[in-house]
């Protein structure tokens, strides 16, 4: 009996199969995941996500009897009061009408298939086909980013990188070089010795059996000692695959998140803006290792804040939109020279601004910001309290100002969000990879 400890073996042997399964169900899953995210916040997906998809594509059919037809006898335990010939009303729920599923060959009456997606798989599907546009220009800077590459062999390393072929080859060479007797050779000697001793054979050259026996014993002894002295596998034989880390060029990028937290935005609107940025943040975190994010919020004046304050703080006040743009320019000039970085801007606001400031904003945008950035997305948050239905939303100050610029400047995109279920479609729309249809 052997006991083998397999716990150190990598688990997840089925990851490959799981991947295949998910690929197969991809289109259905995509829909399920996106429906899922429309109604709720993405923060909830911390551990994993339960999804239910129609079982059509992943159904495994077989010739099976229709259980509601024919006659069958089953044996059951625990009879209490039944006597032979008793009748029992058919239990509800089971069976169903025969032939009820005749209609189409596909889909009907099929139960959904429920299982868990991991957070990674979930987010992959959520952010599928999205990308930061134009992530190309600028210097490719290689700083701390590096990737492991195979680079020959080394005499030491972790067991998982042991190179069996190399190690055994060296072991073989060493054994041959040191003249380690093979087990067959020893066995041969032993066999001959045994036969000599039992008198079954005599030496062919006519010498005395005794002398030959002594000779054999000596040879055997030497062979055995040699075998003991020269190990089959020596630590010096071991060779390990060596990996070398090589620097990888990366495009560096920074995303400026500008959020309006003025009093004209009520809590729900702020909530919408925050959820939009949260989605953006998650997306960048997930897909771009080297994208930095700068959070700026503004009332009548703007300040750079950390992630936590940005998403959780409830500050409020007046509105001067240009203050945020100025702050962004200041930070850009101080830390992110446009020559070295791909710059992105996402701005969320309800579009209200103090009179006269809109012109300043337009000026800043056209003269300074837009020429230096790759892409700027402006998201206008509409009030949910407005009269729904017939009221055509008044074009906000900012929208009126931005719209003509967007016409001529492809790097600027404008969208509106009125309720939580708009966030995801708008987000996808803004960051859809080119050439990929929705």
């Amino acid at each position: 009996m052997h006991i083998v400890d397999r716990r150190q073996n990598p688990s997840g042997r089925n990851l490959g199969n799981r991947q295949r399964f998910i690929n197969r169900a991809r289109s259905r899953l995509r829909k399920a995941v996106r429906d899922n995210i429309l109604e709720r916040s993405i923060e909830d997906t911390s551990s994993g996500e339960r999804v239910v998809i129609p079982a059509d594509d992943i159904h495994e059919p077989e010739f099976r009897r229709d259980e509601s037809t024919g006659r069958r006898v089953g044996v059951l335990p625990g009879n209490r009061a039944f006597r032979e010939g008793d009748t029992i009303p058919r239990p509800r729920g089971g069976g169903g009408g025969a032939g009820g599923r005749e209609g189409s060959a596909e889909g009907e009456g099929e139960d959904g298939f429920a299982f868990m997606l991991t957070r990674d798989e979930f987010l992959d599907l959520v952010f599928e086909d999205l990308a930061l546009p134009d992530l190309v220009k600028k210097k490719l800077r290689a700083e701390q980013s590096s990737k492991p590459y195979r680079a020959g062999f080394s005499p030491s390393g972790p067991p998982s990188r042991l190179n069996l072929m190399r190690s055994l080859r060296r072991s073989m060479v060493r054994r041959a070089a040191l003249g380690r007797p093979r087990p067959e050779a020893v066995a041969e000697l032993e066999a001959e010795l045994a036969r000599l001793e039992s008198g079954e054979i005599v030496p062919a050259d006519g010498s005395a059996a005794k002398a030959r026996i002594a000779e054999l014993r000596d040879a055997l002894d030497r062979a055995r000692r040699k075998r003991a002295a020269v190990p089959w596998l020596d630590p010096m034989d071991l060779r390990f695959n060596r990996l070398e880390r090589r620097p990888e060029p990366v495009a560096r990028a920074v995303m400026f998140c500008l959020m309006d937290v003025s009093a004209s935005m009520d809590e729900e609107m702020k909530g919408l803006a925050k959820r939009f940025f949260l989605l953006l943040h998650l997306f960048l975190e997930r897909h771009y290792e080297h994208v930095e994010v700068v959070f700026i919020r503004h009332t009548q004046r703007a300040e750079e804040v950390d992630e936590r304050t940005f998403f959780e703080d409830r500050q409020t006040g007046g509105t001067v939109v240009s203050s945020a743009l100025r702050e962004m320019i200041r930070i850009r000039d101080a830390r992110y020279p446009p020559d070295d970085y791909n710059l992105y801007v996402a701005q969320a606001s309800d579009g209200d601004d103090v009179p006269g400031d809109v012109e300043t904003c337009i000026e800043l945008l056209t003269d300074d910001i837009l020429p230096s950035v790759q892409y700027m997305a402006y998201v206008e948050i509409l009030s949910q309290r407005g009269q729904p239905g017939f009221a055509i939303p008044r074009e906000s100050d900012l929208w009126q100002g931005y719209a003509p610029i967007a016409q001529v400047h492809p790097a600027l995109a404008l969208r509106r969000i009125a309720q939580p279920r708009d966030i995801f479609p708008v987000f996808r729309d803004l960051f859809r990879r080119e050439g990929v249809a929705e």
Binding site: M1, H2, I3, V4, D5, R6, R7, N9, S11, G12, R13, N14, G16, N17, R18, Q19, R20, F21, N23, R24, G48, R50, I58, H59, E60, P61, E62, F63, R64, R65, D66, S68, T69, G70, R71, R72, V73, G74, V75, L76, P77, G78, N79, F82, R83, E84, G85, D86, T87, I88, P89, R90, R101, E102, A105, G109, F113, A114, F115, M116
Partner: protein, 538 residues
Amino acid sequence: MTEKRERQAARGATGKAPAKRKTTSAAPATATATGDLLFEGPAWSFETLARTHDAIEEIARGELGLDPYPTRLEVVSSEQMLDAYAATGMPVMYPHWSFGKRFARQEMLYRKGFQQLALEIVINSNPSLCYIMEDNTMAAQATVIAHAAIGHNHFFRHNHVFREWTDADTVLDELRHARRFVMDCEERHGRPAVEEVLDAAHALLSHGVDRAGRGERPDPVATRARLAERARQQRLAAQDLWLRTVPSRAEPPEEGTAVAERRAMGLPEENLLLFLENHAPLLDAWQRELLRIVRWLATYFEPQRQTKLMNEGCATWCHFEIMQRLRDRGRIGDGAMLEFLDLHSMVVAQPSFDAQGYGGLNPYALGFAMMRDIVRVCTEPTEEDAAWFPDIAGNARPVETLRHAWAEFRDESFVRQYLSPRLIREWRLFALCDDAAAPALRVEAIHDDEGYRRIVRALADQYDPAAQTPAIEVTGADMRGERVLHLRHAVQDGRVLDPLEVRRTLRHVQRLWGYAVHLTERDAETDAELAVYRSDAA
């Protein structure tokens, strides 16, 4: 043990109690006094595992005369156990999305707490592989070793169904070949093409077995030879041009060719996979080999389907008997014994038909009860037993009788042979008839003098593999004309096929066959046509 079980309860027992207290079993007091505990407390180590295994094996071989394959215990984490589950419990398996589906499903059930993991998985190979989970307590490990490494293992080695259908020596080789071959094909022909064949073959999995009984013995050498032959055939096919351009005498179709062809194809053929592998006109050699791999898999699993009840009964009886004997010798503490009993009683729980959580007859419970009952008949027979089982009643050789039964029977014949009236009474078994034509269910037989025979027959039929799988066979393949493949389902007791499933499965068959496939359902007795399905070539 695929039973659901509350690990919490098992954890509760600490196993610290001294080994002095007398057990309830009828062991001689001297044996109890020698208390040399194999292990203490719930934690296990490799040393206690080895010691316990040796003690258990000593009892199994020495006292019970069992003869299992040598065992390799493999300790795995719960993650890995989950993995093994999905790959149908095999240590090596070819890649396929359906295993990923199973895995996703199992994982969710496990993570949401709907289902506990199995305590062990044992592979029918030589040496046998027995996975045990690291989370188990030592008492559970001991139970698992006695159950799987001894019980199942002995059964695998000696039961005639296993001996006939599977070859334990080459199981792992064959699996490795399958994996390599499938991956190779994916590289060469692309994943979608391979998946199409495998999907279709999986749909026919339960129709890939030679029920007539000649179990196919896979042989790696023969496999290689067969592959070489197929490669040669391919090269020949490449000379097709030459063969076609050189004129040959056109032979007029002879009278009776059709009959001869039918005979040559071995029709009617119930092994659909085998038929398609041999005769589907459009398949490439590698596709045929994929079919053969799936067919091999079906054959490998067939004995497990046919002997579920006996196999679990045997294993459960073994672990119960061995643990008791260990206890009698004072090698197991009270705490561990209590934990074992708790575990055991959960494994053999059988809710009544009207209880919540009733999921059919529990093979562990019924199997165990039948084994115990055989022992009882051998040692303390009643008059009734003597009349029912004249061969074994009172022969006073219970273990030998059991070993004989384990070797020579399968579930269906085992029930027919050994289900006793007393057990029927104890379990209060009754036979219920569900006739779609009748407005209500009808009780056919209960545990009384008239009912015993009928219950035995009904239960045995229930375990008959032929009764579980619809009888579908190839009746005709028109190789000259339209090349339509004709399948026939012999309908028993009016139980027709699920139409939706038929259409879906037929699409798979058609993909393999390459031309139209027709399936006719005919009543097995009257030969009346009940339904016709046509899957026509696109």
